[in-house]
Each structure stands twice: as structure tokens, then as C-alpha cells.
Symmetry: C2
Subunit: 331 residues, 2 copies
């Protein structure tokens, strides 16, 4: 690979001048500019960004830490991040923590070592990781999941409200024993969606027995198992609200396997869409999230924080929408 010295030599100028031409930061004699550009072309010179990064002590890389690449919710979100990142001149390193705080910690360490320009994180719960980044001065944005005990830019959705809508809708349709399958205890969205569910029940004068609540893992298998456990317990539910898309799929599979009809024998509604929800029979009612927009917003917040490191942290909350399809329509 040609270096900046090769270009300088060929263009009969100093390396400093080549650098100036390349970065357009200072004014350079037009003749020299042309000579440098010619030399760059002739040598097929591309600046070595590793050297540049070392010198500037920053990179043009963002780390995005999500908890499940297998979940279309996160990939759609990442798409939103990438589109903004690319436009702003950053590349995105995608990291999959698998809901494992240890893996998450590893990725945070890597982000620190690699001098990442910024981090967007959907944290599995512990504030410690995020605080390490903040202390090191790395710009961070929390996405999808709140981080208690860290003062950080955040992009969230109205989880409580969404869960409330879903539950109220089931009540309105005549379901009376409504169960809730929520996510891991440490994850903010799990707690908030559970709270929205409980509140909707209470408002209508219904009890919120713990027997109808299951904490699970936001995965398909977890949703299946939780549903099985609800059905095996005495006095099973007549409807279920599942706190994410994959668990909804798992729950439906379980219900189908048991030969229970949806929505007649069991009403189902889930938080977050799955692709092709409309092709599934019965089609799945959901609380729909602005997934792509979530990513875009986080990316914009990160870009802003990078240019203005000292402004106060802000939290953006996006709205969810109730999508009533067949699975929640009690005949």
C-alpha cells in the first residue's frame, strides 16, 4: 500500500500538504492541490485509517450492542441506526450480547479498547457497563431499554401505555382471566409492560393475581414454556398478553399444540410485531413499535452527543400503536 509519503514525493510536496489537501482543512495552493490529487489517483492511494485514528485518538466506528440478532425487532432497529450512521460517516459494528451481562461487558471492554466513537446499547440491565463507557468519555445512547442509575441519552417506547392498551383491548373483547408473559426481571421493558398490564386490570376492577404472571426470557422457547406452565396450573387463563414478539409466537405454538382454538378458546396479543404477522392464521394482534424509527432516533442522538459532548442527556419516548387482528377477537 502506498503511504502519504509516496504521494508527497510524487507530487513534490510535503506530507503535511498532502494531509491538508485530503482533509480540506486548510487552504492550499491550487497547483499543489492538483498535483496531489493526480498523485493520489496514480498511486491509488487510500489513507490508512488505523494510523489516522491513532493520531486523532478517535475512530469513525460505532458499536451497537443488542441482545438478540435473531429477533427481527433488533435487526429492524439496527437498520435505522445504520442508515443514519452511514450518512454521518460512521460504520456500525454489531454486537450480540444474547441477554448475557458477561458478554455485554466484553463488548463494552472492546469498545473502550478500540476507541469507538460511540455506543448504542440495549442493555441487559446492569448500569455498570454503561457507566464504564460514560466514565471513559465515550458517547452512549440507550435504546429500547432504560438504564436506571445512569445519566444517559435514551430512546424508548411507551411500554406501559402499550401494554395497557393491549390488556384493555382484551378486557373489552370479553376476556376475563388474562395472563401475562413478561421478560427477564432485570430488563426495564419487562417490568414496564407488566405494570401496564396490571394497571389496566386494576382500573377495570379486576384482580391481578401472581398466578397469571410468568417471567420468561424474551425467546420463542421461553414463551412456549411459560404458556405451558399457565395451562398446566389450575384455573388456566382465557387470554394472554405476551411482552415481546418471539414469546408471542412461542405461546401461540403451545396453545395450538394443546388443541386450543385461538381466539375462541384463548385470546392472544403480543408486544411488537413479527414479520408476516398477517400471514399467520389466525393473524396476530399486536402492539406495534416504530422499530426503524427507534434506531434512527438513537443514531441521531448519538451523532449529536459526539459533536456536543456536554449537553444534558435527553430521553425520547416514541408511541406504540394497537394493531387489532384476529387473535384477540373473542367470538
Amino acid at each position: 500500500m502506498a503511504t502519504i509519503y509516496d504521494v508527497a514525493q510524487r507530487a513534490q510536496v510535503s506530507p503535511a500538504t498532502v494531509s491538508r489537501v485530503l482533509n480540506g482543512r486548510a487552504s492550499v495552493d491550487p497547483d499543489m492541490v492538483v498535483r496531489v490529487q493526480d498523485a493520489v489517483r496514480e498511486l491509488n492511494y487510500r489513507p490508512n485509517s488505523v494510523a489516522r485514528n491513532l493520531r486523532r485518538s478517535r475512530t469513525t466506528l460505532w458499536t451497537v450492542i443488542i441482545s438478540d440478532v435473531g429477533n427481527p425487532f433488533f435487526t429492524a432497529m439496527v437498520r435505522g441506526v445504520e442508515d443514519v450512521a452511514q450518512r454521518a460517516g460512521y460504520s456500525v459494528v454489531l454486537c450480540n450480547s444474547d441477554e448475557d451481562p458477561a458478554k455485554e461487558a466484553q463488548y463494552v471492554t472492546a469498545a473502550l479498547q478500540d476507541q469507538m466513537a460511540g455506543v448504542i446499547i440495549s442493555s441487559s440491565g446492569h448500569a455498570a457497563n454503561v457507566n464504564r463507557l460514560i466514565e471513559a468519555g465515550t458517547p452512549v445512547v440507550a435504546i429500547d431499554r432504560q438504564i436506571s442509575g445512569a445519566n444517559v441519552d435514551s430512546v424508548l417506547v411507551d411500554n406501559e401505555h402499550g401494554a395497557h392498551m393491549a390488556t384493555a383491548h382484551l378486557l373489552e373483547r370479553g376476556y376475563r382471566r388474562i395472563a401475562c408473559i413478561t421478560g427477564p426481571r432485570k430488563v426495564s421493558t419487562a417490568a414496564q409492560r407488566l405494570r401496564g398490564y396490571q394497571q389496566a386490570l386494576r382500573e377495570q376492577g379486576f384482580a391481578t393475581p401472581a398466578a397469571l404472571v410468568r417471567y420468561s426470557d424474551y425467546r420463542e422457547e421461553g414463551g412456549y414454556a411459560a404458556m405451558a406452565s399457565l395451562l398446566d396450573a389450575g384455573d388456566p387463563p382465557d387470554a394472554v398478553f405476551a411482552a415481546n414478539n418471539l414469546m408471542t409466537v412461542g405461546a401461540v405454538e403451545c396453545v395450538v399444540d394443546r388443541g386450543i382454538a385461538v381466539p375462541a378458546g384463548m385470546g392472544v396479543i403480543g408486544f411488537d410485531d413479527i414479520p408476516w404477522a398477517h400471514l399467520v392464521r389466525p393473524s396476530l394482534s399486536t402492539v406495534s413499535q416504530p422499530t426503524y424509527e427507534l434506531g434512527r432516533t438513537a443514531a441521531m442522538l448519538l451523532a449529536e452527543r459526539i459533536t456536543e459532548p456536554d449537553r444534558p442527556a435527553s430521553t425520547v419516548t416514541l408511541q406504540t400503536t394497537l394493531k387489532v387482528r384476529e387473535s384477540s377477537l373473542k367470538p
Copy 2:
């Protein structure tokens, strides 16, 4: 951030010794090892990998270039890559080319500038990009899509055979006017799957009229449009083979919108699974690919090429499986 000099000073040794302890490359006096380790801990020292990379003139980053992050096929593949990469000490930068050769070229340029340790690419067709990498000495593995005119390690599936199985299955079930919706002309998988389809027809003595073939874009909307075009032409098909998962979904949507029954009025089979194919009604018959394994294999090949740059390029072809579900069962 603490540097290696800070650690050296605190441990009363030279920076070189700290480096040796950290990298475990040479033998160091046990006492010093302990002193260094203590200093590292006390200063919370993490090596700056940008500096390390510059010095070693290589990084521990892989670039994975795929054509659609929104397609679960690619994300599952990436999961396979990541699992192997992480174990081998590499991080993965995921890049989304959106089937756009220009975007792909940008990412290749970035990979070159950033001194990426290796690249796994599902190319949109032009060998030029891949050749730039090879000429620069960057280890490359082609995944999912063949690159003609480049001598490169490749991991593929038996596209022709898979398409052949799908088409033969439709014939066997009694469908007689079978259409094919394939991918972009430049993409190797599109050509191969089309060829498998044609061959199966010819073997059974059927014609392969161009009127029953559509080139599309491997996207849901494209599948929908291609199906619409097939239905609007005179003498419409009684079955369709779609060359990827998203186009299958689009085709089914179109058929449903037109009020045609699947599989009675229209048989449908697709290449590559979609998640929850079994929940969709009618459930979709598919040619299933070992997606995760594809990623794993590519990653292993890349790791091997990095350690042995001069060995001859090899091509691994994985098998596909016919998954007969409801959508292809003519009553």
C-alpha cells in the same frame, strides 16, 4: 486512559516487558509478571488496540458484507459467523449493501482502509470488488453467492439441486404450469435456481417457456409484483417456485389478495425458510438451507486463510433439504 508507559513505571519495568506479559509471547520473570499484573489492575489499564493495530499492521476485525439485514436468512448466517469469530478472537463489522454494487464498493474501500483482518462477502455480482481485496492481500471468503472471475474460498449451497427438487415435487403433485420467480440477473444464486427449475421441467418432458419466468429483486415487494405480473399475463400458472424466502411471502400475499386458494388454485414453494413458516396458513413448503452452518463454515474458512494465506482456494457446498408443508399439496 493509562498507557503502557504508566504501567511500566508503576511496575518498575520497561514497556517492552509489560508488552511481553500482556501478550504472553516471551518468558518473563515470575516476579515481574506479578508486578505488571498488579499495576495493570491498579491503573485499570486496557491496551489501546488502535495503536496495537497500527504497529502490527493488522486488526482483529472482520467485515461481513450482506445484501439485506432485513432478511432472516442473512442474519442467521451472520450469527454463525459471529459465533466462530468471537471464539477466534475477532469482532464482526456487519455491512448492509442493499444489493447495491456501489454501496458494496464503499464497504470494500472501508475494509481496505481500516486494515480489516478479513472479509466475508455475499456479493451482488461484480468480481471487481472482491478482486480489489485479493490484490491488496486481504483474506476473503465468498458466502452464499459465487463470484465468477475471482479465485476465492467459497461456501455455497447446492442451488441447482434444491431448485430441481422443489420443481420436481410440484410436478409430482400434479401441477402442470409451473412458474419461477427468480432473483436479480447478476446474482449467481438466481441463475442457478432458475437453471435447476428449468432442468426439472425438461427432464419430465415439459417446455420451459420464458413467459413463466420472472426476474425480480429477492424482496417481498418484488415477489408480489412478479406474481401479479404472472397472473395478469394470459394463461397464468397453476404453481410457482420462488427463488428466495421474502419473494415467496410476497407471492403468497399477491395470490391471497387475488382470492386464489393455496394450494388448490396455486401451488407455492420457496427457496429458503422463513421463521414461523409453520404458523403461516397454509404452511409454506420450502427448500431449507443450513443457514447458520453456512456462516460457521465461512468463518472457519476465513480463519484458516488468515493463518495460511497461501493455500489454494476451496469451495464448500452444503446440502439443502426439501420441506414439504401444505402450500404445495394439490388436493
